[in-house]
């Protein structure tokens, strides 16, 4: 069994891709295809993580930041959409770069859902939080992100984008009803949650930004972590 694991996994993956494509093209049934596409989007991340020679210090650093993000979600479990995870992912990506942000976001979603319950939303959350980290890392050297106001605006925008990406997973289950009306209705019904998320991002970023960036930059310099990325 162990010897054949790579061919076995590749064959299984190809098989599922084929099934998803036929289901989507023949029967207009898109749920499976959407999951396959998400897996394809996250796949390069894990391949890169496996292939590059990563220092044990960097690996542990990523684990600590993901765990802090995951833990920070637990006290706010009672309040929907209010959590500091996005803010922590943005700050970590700001200091350690896009790739680290992507990994931290995806890991935080995966691990915190061990406590909140895995579901069909897990891959979507991994993707969304990963994208939060990735974009924050890409923009970290621009003047926009360097200013405090710019970073708060960035967090506010991502609060809404996050909710919009999460809405896709059930809009996609109604291919025949797809119209701007449905999209508008779905986005209107999630508006309050998205607003809560956006405002909580602004709040947490405004109180965390200064001190956390200082702490993390000190660690980066002291130990020479993730300097390339």
């Amino acid at each position: 069994m162990l010897r054949f694991r790579y061919p076995l996994f590749i064959a299984l993956a190809l098989f599922v891709v084929g099934l998803a494509l036929t289901a989507a093209l023949q029967d207009r049934h898109y749920i499976l295809l959407s999951l396959v596409l998400l897996a394809a989007a996250l796949f390069p991340l894990f391949v890169r993580l496996e292939r590059r020679s990563i220092e044990s210090r960097e690996l542990v650093l990523l684990a600590v930041l993901s765990a802090v993000a995951a833990v920070s979600r637990i006290p706010f479990a009672a309040l929907p959409s209010v959590q500091p995870v996005s803010a922590i992912v943005i700050l970590s990506a700001y200091v350690f770069g896009a790739e680290a942000g992507l990994i931290i976001g995806a890991m935080a979603a995966l691990v915190s859902n061990l406590y909140f319950g895995q579901g069909p939303w897990t891959p979507w959350q991994m993707f969304s939080w990963g994208m939060v980290g990735l974009t924050a890392g890409w923009l970290r050297n621009t003047r926009w992100m360097r200013s405090k106001i710019g970073m708060l605006v960035f967090g506010f925008i991502w609060g809404f984008l996050f909710g919009w990406i999460m809405n896709i997973w059930y809009i996609i289950s109604l291919p025949d009803a797809f119209s701007w009306g449905l999209v508008a209705a779905a986005y209107a019904s999630s508006f309050y949650f998205d607003l809560a998320h956006a405002l909580s991002n602004v709040f947490f970023l405004s109180i965390l930004a200064g001190s956390w960036i200082k702490v993390m930059e000190r660690f980066r310099k002291k130990y020479g972590l993730l300097q390339r990325g």
Binding site: L19, S66, V68
Partner: protein, 314 residues
């Protein structure tokens, strides 16, 4: 307690849950979907997850129920117009499609509840740790840090409260900034300590060679039989599904489903796939019940009544 379906080899459990998800998303037929939902529900109840299910039920129903409402409001395909709402035709087809989609979503969510119970993290890691060792190590370390950090945060709170920093007293503004101080201490402490862990890992030779793995699970005879039965019945169902069986046509016009021999064979193998874990659970329950009642249906006879010493041992 680990028995019944929870005690099978991880690959068997993974095959079953992947199969359930595939069938839920591929077979668009009310009979198949209802059967799958019923099977997953009975598996959940047999696994003792009823309370867990009840707690999340309002959320699941809200999420899946909104689909029933929205599809007829926004989709006007279909030829059987029932009535008009807001000058828009509401068709029978759209309502039925919405109901079926609700079944699909509910099934997927219920499958995940059972998955969370059966596939614990160590089993998942056993399966994927060899394929992606670094990601597996990263996930495992993160999982391990979560309870550690919770405990640490408790210690920090206790110590800092002696110098008046506490989230439970004072004005809101002070509480917030105090909470952030606590989190900052947690971050600094954990990073400092984790980097020591990393250095210790390196000193012991992490990353020099390929990472070896240790597997605690063994495929025994029951697992192999279950695996073969699941794979066989699952493949048969998939083959029939690719032939076009097990589908109802709703759009553009509702057709009454016709049942042929092919559908019956497919349904049979589908039921077999679904019910193997349920059977394992029932067998386990039955064994326990027999054990508690002390009249074993097993080969070992148990004497009833008071035990007298036999002449030989006397």
């Amino acid at each position: 307690m680990s028995n019944g379906f929870r005690s099978v080899h991880p690959s068997v459990a993974l095959l079953y849950y992947v199969g359930l998800l595939l069938f839920a998303t591929l077979l668009f037929h009310p009979l198949f979907l209802l059967t799958e939902l019923a099977a997953v529900l009975s598996l959940l109840l047999l696994q003792g997850q009823g309370r867990h299910l009840l707690r999340g039920l309002p959320f699941y129903l809200l999420m899946a129920g909104s689909v029933v409402l929205w599809n007829p409001l926004f989709s006007h395909r279909g030829s059987h117009i029932l009535f008009y709402a807001f000058d828009q035709p509401i068709t029978l087809e759209a309502i039925l499609y919405g109901l079926m989609m609700m079944l699909v979503l509910l099934t997927i969510m219920f499958v995940f509840i059972s998955y969370n119970f059966t596939m614990t993290t160590d089993k998942f890691m056993y399966l994927f740790g060899t394929v992606a060792p670094k990601s597996a190590l990263l996930i495992l370390m993160t999982i391990r840090f979560v309870p550690l950090f919770q405990r640490r945060l408790g210690q920090i709170t206790l110590i800092q409260s002696s110098r008046g920093i506490s989230v439970s007293s004072g004005k809101l503004r002070k509480r917030m900034s105090d909470g952030m101080t606590l989190l900052k201490v947690l971050l600094t402490w954990s990073l400092e300590e984790a980097l020591q862990t990393a250095d210790s890992m390196k000193a012991r030779g992490y990353g020099i060679r390929k990472r070896s793995t240790y597997g605690i699970f063994k495929l025994d005879r029951r697992d192999i039989i279950t695996l073969i039965c699941l794979a066989g019945s699952g493949m048969l169902t998939l083959i029939f599904s690719m032939q076009g069986y097990g589908m109802v046509e709703i759009y553009p016009r509702l057709k009454t489903p016709v049942y042929t021999g092919g559908d019956a064979v497919m349904y049979g193998s589908f039921c077999m796939f679904l019910l193997i874990p349920v059977g394992l659970e029932i067998k386990e329950k039955w064994l326990w019940r027999s054990f508690e009642r002390r009249d074993f249906p097993s080969v070992i006879p148990i004497k009833k009544g008071p035990h007298y010493m036999t002449s030989r041992s006397r």
